[in-house]
């Protein structure tokens, strides 16, 4: 693995290796001394063109737990209006000797541009790009699902195993969701079946090529599809209602909640073992009710903790081995 740009680049074995590595990382995080010397001397740059305190802190924690040096580079505001800035920023980071660049960007594909450009030698980790991909989020989701639902919920070690036979419903704004895109690819690579549930306006044209089912109705998916996990997507405020520049994608928040919100009644439709997930931050009362968010089935807080382990695993797998120059002799 040279970069982590998209879950589409991961085959089953690569994905399982990341999950297994994450499990070992998670085991170290219950110790008193959580810090490992593994990446001493390596420099990880968090290059965030878009605010995301949660993701940035998660990556920062992961890198620090592995003893890497961390540089946080918040480039918000200097970004997309003039593309030159990505290049100049990248060249600056290269001069600082970044071994890995964790990039969050509002433009889909910006991490690909960075990885392809030759502006930086280091590994590029996509920490969320526009409406494209958020691979570490999908990995932590898959990790969380595996921990809860594979090997009898902790009864046996799920190491080496995928998500074969599980059914995951992903509900909400699929059109604009990098979480949904990443998860559809990763979860199906791992053998799970995915059903997307969204109003038709929030389903992308071209979705028929995705390896998943699409439904416009939540109740039958929950009741008849018996999903093992339900992942609620955040609804962006700016997508709501008429009068927005791109047009409202649904009439009112109330109607959205009525048709696609996860509440106690819908929770009761689920199989007993099913878990409820949300990438955060939640809009309580919109896509998820407080009842659902705080129910014992919700593994939302655990997702956050697993995020650190998964990101440690990704940084380890990208940075611990031979350096790129040692491997190939070329930049």
């Amino acid at each position: 693995m040279r970069h982590l740009l998209s879950t589409g680049d991961l085959d089953r074995d690569a994905a399982v290796l990341i999950l297994d590595t994450a499990a070992q990382m998670a085991a170290t995080q219950s110790r008193e001394i959580k810090k490992l010397p593994t990446l001493r001397g390596r420099t990880v740059v968090n290059l965030f063109f878009e605010d995301s305190t949660r993701t940035r802190i998660s990556f920062e924690t992961a890198a620090k737990r592995l003893s890497a040096d961390v540089i946080n580079f918040s480039a918000k505001g200097s970004s997309v209006s003039k593309g030159e800035s990505l290049k100049d920023t990248a060249l600056t980071l290269q001069a600082m000797g970044a071994d890995a660049v964790v990039i969050r960007h509002q433009a889909s594909g910006a991490p690909h541009v960075l990885a392809r450009s030759g502006w930086v030698d280091g590994a590029v980790v996509n920490a969320g790009d526009g409406t494209h991909q958020h691979p570490t989020q999908a990995l932590l989701d898959a990790y969380t699902i595996r921990r809860h639902l594979v090997g009898g919920a902790g009864a046996s070690d799920p190491a080496g195993r995928d998500l074969d036979g599980l059914h995951v419903a992903i509900v909400g704004d699929v059109l604009h969701s990098r979480v949904a895109r990443s998860n559809v690819q990763l979860l199906t690579t791992l053998g799970a079946r995915v059903t997307l549930v969204a109003p038709p306006t929030l389903v992308p044209v071209g979705v028929q090529q995705w390896p998943c089912d699409v439904s416009y109705h939540l109740d039958p998916v929950l009741a008849d599809g018996a999903p093992d996990a339900v992942m609620m997507l955040r609804v962006q405020r700016e997508r709501m209602g008429a009068g927005t520049s791109a047009g409202g994608f649904f009439p009112t928040p109330l109607e959205y909640t009525r048709n696609y919100g996860l509440d106690q009644r819908r929770l009761d439709l689920l199989p007993d073992h099913a878990v409820v997930m949300h990438p955060g931050p939640m809009n309580r009362g919109l896509e998820i009710s407080a009842d659902a968010a705080d129910s014992p089935r919700a593994v939302i807080v655990e997702q956050v903790a697993n995020g650190v382990a998964v990101r440690m695993a990704v940084l380890y797998l990208l940075l611990a081995g031979e350096t790129h120059e040692e491997r190939t002799g070329i930049a």
Partner: protein, 186 residues
């Protein structure tokens, strides 16, 4: 290019390995005045079955000892100093006995003692896991060429080698048979 396949020389067979482990087990008991407070941490891959074999031998001598309660596994991958010189290594499991290692005598068990760097990493790993009363080292084979001031407390067999040679330990649990082989490398 090699000049044909190297024929490995068997330097220890199954009976010799068994006798060496039995001897180490007795030395362990003698030196530590019993198995009380002993923890055997096997270093993957072959240190773990060796630790388990040693524990069974201890239990055979010391009645009432649960051999499995003595044994743990210590993966040192994340403490290695040579990570950037090799392709990325998968991380193995670390599992301590239920009683932990604080105040215990930890015996690191590995198959081959060579440069000492693995043991250096293991000492660092132990340091992050707790505070044992003492740490000792048992190795089935000591082939010399130390790069660090580390020595074994218990050695199955001292095996003078050249650095051009490769020492392979085969164990029934991992390889289907017991043997120690030396083969020439390019």
């Amino acid at each position: 290019m090699t000049s044909g396949p190297a024929v490995p020389t068997t330097v220890l067979g199954a009976p010799e390995i068994g006798r060496a482990l039995t001897r180490i087990a007795h030395e362990l008991l003698e030196r530590n005045k019993g198995a009380h407070d002993l923890v055997l941490l096997g270093i993957p891959t072959r240190g773990l079955p060796l630790a388990e074999r040693l524990a069974r031998r201890l239990a055979a001598v010391e009645p009432g000892l649960d051999p499995l309660a003595l044994v743990g596994v210590l993966d040192v991958t994340m403490y290695r100093d040579d990570l950037s010189r090799h392709p990325t290594r998968p991380i193995g499991t670390t599992r301590l006995p239920a009683g932990g290692i604080d105040g215990k005598v930890v015996v690191l068990v590995d198959d081959v003692l060579y440069s000492g760097r693995t043991i250096r990493a293991a000492l660092d790993a132990i340091n992050d896991l707790g505070r044992p009363r003492a740490v000792q080292l048992a190795a089935l084979v000591d082939r010399g060429h130390r790069e660090l001031p580390i020595r074994a407390d218990y050695v199955g067999k001292n095996l003078p080698t050249s650095q051009a040679e490769r020492v392979r330990v085969l164990l029934d649990e991992t390889d289907g048979r017991d043997a120690v082989l030396i083969e020439a490398t390019r």
